[in-house]
Amino acid sequence: MMEVAEEPGLREIGCEHSLLSRPDGSATFVQGDTSVLAGVYGPAEIKVSREMHDKATIEVMVRPKVGLPAIQDKNHEQLIRETCESVILGTLHPRTSITIVLQVINDGGSILSCFLNAACMAMMDAGLPMNAMFCGVTCALDDDGQLIIDPNTKDQKESRTVLTFAIESSEKKVLTISSRGAYSPAEVSISLYQSCL
């Protein structure tokens, strides 16, 4: 049974820069129903206990819409922080803090990639020195091995594997991979994403 559920491809994408007045940089990123608002403060003053003498301390906060941050959010925070650390030239601003706050506005699937995109946009808006930009892409593989790019919540639930990549812009290198479920053709997806970006 061949089932072509939906036209494969990315959902509609929207973004807006510097929409908040208080943060140094802010951006909202919308992918279909998924929407994230990001605010960046920095390079700014930092507590002595947390300062690093050779580079900027990068902090990422993910705020869920309902309730307190859960383990999943903490996991996302760490992934995003490590991704950002690899592109931000933190050595240019030692003993400072760079705070990235990500607020979920609506979760309609592929939230991690939306976080990554919003964070990158906000960092650009804040004018942070970076050696490259990055973008996040989420894909799902269902039981028949069909590949869905930018899955929504329903696709994500039904799929066997969900993979999220952060890909850097200058050399198209992969910065982060986050996966859920069993998969073999990981290379497959990566190569595909590089081609589609």
Partner: protein, 435 residues
């Protein structure tokens, strides 16, 4: 991070302007900033913009056991959060004094005024009731948080629809939105907070203070009122003494403002309902400004994934297999190992120039000639047996007095090539130690 302090110049300027009956953003005394309400795709989700102050509201519900003393009443829960995004002064984790004050005021304004019919939230008396949770997130702090938060809470509550339930005997069935249309909450009235800032011991009054104005104000009066001009809560803070007339005048102004805001909320909800009914587009994606230099929108784009396996195979077959980056670890002595070539020691930069020449010579020498080079090195090492510095260890690591034959038979050709480099570095160290 601390809040940037307000300088004395700014303070006097602001106060002078207020005494001259002028506001820095060009508003009149009783003017509100522009209010914009947008709804999300989910029920009970909205963003309220009051000027540049922005609050996100989300209502959610859950079936829980009721409180012991009120077995037939649903539970209302409010939670306002000052996200660190809103201002660098807001730290996550511990609730500040301001946050506690705002949360309490919000509870008094909405829960204690009984704007929601809590009895209608009862599913089974003493067993199951709906708990309605209102989460409010401040996204940008430009003053007058409480008004924006109360508008967001009311708008989100009006917009929210809970799933329908049916009770048959002991069994409670919750229907999904596909099975039965969700039901809206029954609201008695819409209480809205209006803030008044007082300056110069109550001589001057401003409606909807901005962040700057809040910093120089002496006192704040918050009046929560519904459109029937019934006061739900009134709170005066900051320690100013107000005259009876002032409070009455404020309540009159609040009545007008509340009527305007209520109308705005109703209109926004009406618009959203219409958009949903007509099957048109709704949600935050639609509220992005179309013609603005800071925003961009890309329509649904299709990516052909039909032949991704074939594509990938092609790419894999084309690409070279990854080179064996990690050669076999070299075990210099028990308990030590080395992978790769390592980096030369950068200590003692001063001798760099002199060493460089030597290194260049050695690097070009073939492995056979090592014997020659090693000998003087060994001699020097014997001179410094007493020193317990790290150079000592280096010497031990080196398979002393043995030459090529000492290398483990399993070492690949690659390792052999590498050995001159590692030896040069050891030699460098010895030279320094000897000095």
């Amino acid at each position: 991070m601390r809040e940037t302090p307000l300088s004395n110049c700014e303070r006097t300027f602001l106060l002078q302007a207020i005494t001259d009956r002028k506001r820095i953003d060009g508003r009149q005394t009783y003017d509100y900033r522009n209010i914009k309400i947008t709804f999300g795709t989910e029920y009970g989700c909205c963003i309220v913009e009051l000027g540049k102050t922005r609050v996100l509201g989300q209502v959610s519900c859950e079936l829980v056991a009721p409180k012991m003393n009120r077995p037939t009443e649903g539970i209302l829960f409010f939670n306002l959060e000052l996200s660190p995004m809103a201002s660098p002064a807001f730290e996550p984790g511990r609730p500040s004094e301001l946050l506690v004050k705002l949360n309490r005021l919000l509870e008094r304004c909405l829960r204690n005024s009984k704007c929601i019919d809590t009895e209608s939230l009862c599913v089974q008396a003493g067993e199951k009731v709906w708990q309605i949770r209102v989460d409010l997130h401040l996204l940008n702090h430009e003053g007058n948080i409480i008004d924006a938060a109360s508008i967001a809470a009311v708008a989100a509550l009006c917009h929210f629809k809970r799933p329908d339930v049916s009770v048959q005997g002991e069994e409670v069935t919750v229907y999904s939105p596909e099975e039965r249309d969700p039901v809206p909450l029954s609201m008695h009235h819409m209480p809205i907070c209006v803030s008044f800032a007082f300056f110069q011991q109550g001589t001057f009054l401003l409606v909807d203070p901005s962040e700057r104005e809040e910093r120089v104000m002496d006192g704040l009066l918050v009046i929560a009122m519904n459109k029937h001009r019934e006061i739900c809560t009134i709170q005066s803070s900051g320690g100013i003494m107000l005259l009876k007339d002032q409070v009455l005048r404020c309540s009159k102004v609040a009545g007008v403002k509340v009527a305007e805001i209520t109308e705005l909320i109703q209109k926004a909800i009406e618009n959203d309902k219409k958009a949903r009914k007509e099957g048109g587009k709704f949600g935050f994606a639609e509220s992005l400004p179309e013609q603005k230099i800071t925003s961009l929108k890309i329509d649904k784009s299709s990516v052909d994934t039909s032949d991704f396996k074939g594509e990938a195979k092609k790419i894999i077959s084309k690409s070279e297999p990854p080179s064996d980056a990690v050669s076999k670890p070299v075990v210099w002595a028990p308990g030590t190992a080395q992978i790769g070539e390592g980096i030369g020691n950068a200590w003692g930069e001063l001798e760099e120039s002199e060493d460089e020449d030597d290194d260049a010579d050695i690097a070009s020498v073939s492995p056979e000639s090592h014997k020659v080079i090693k000998k003087p090195a060994k001699h020097t090492s014997k001179d410094i047996v007493l020193s317990d510095s790290e150079e000592d260890d280096v010497i031990i690591l080196e398979p002393e007095s043995k030459t090529e034959a000492s290398l483990p038979p399993s070492v690949s050709a690659e390792d052999k090539d590498k050995s001159p480099v590692s030896k040069t570095s050891t030699k460098k160290k010895k030279k320094r130690a000897a000095r």
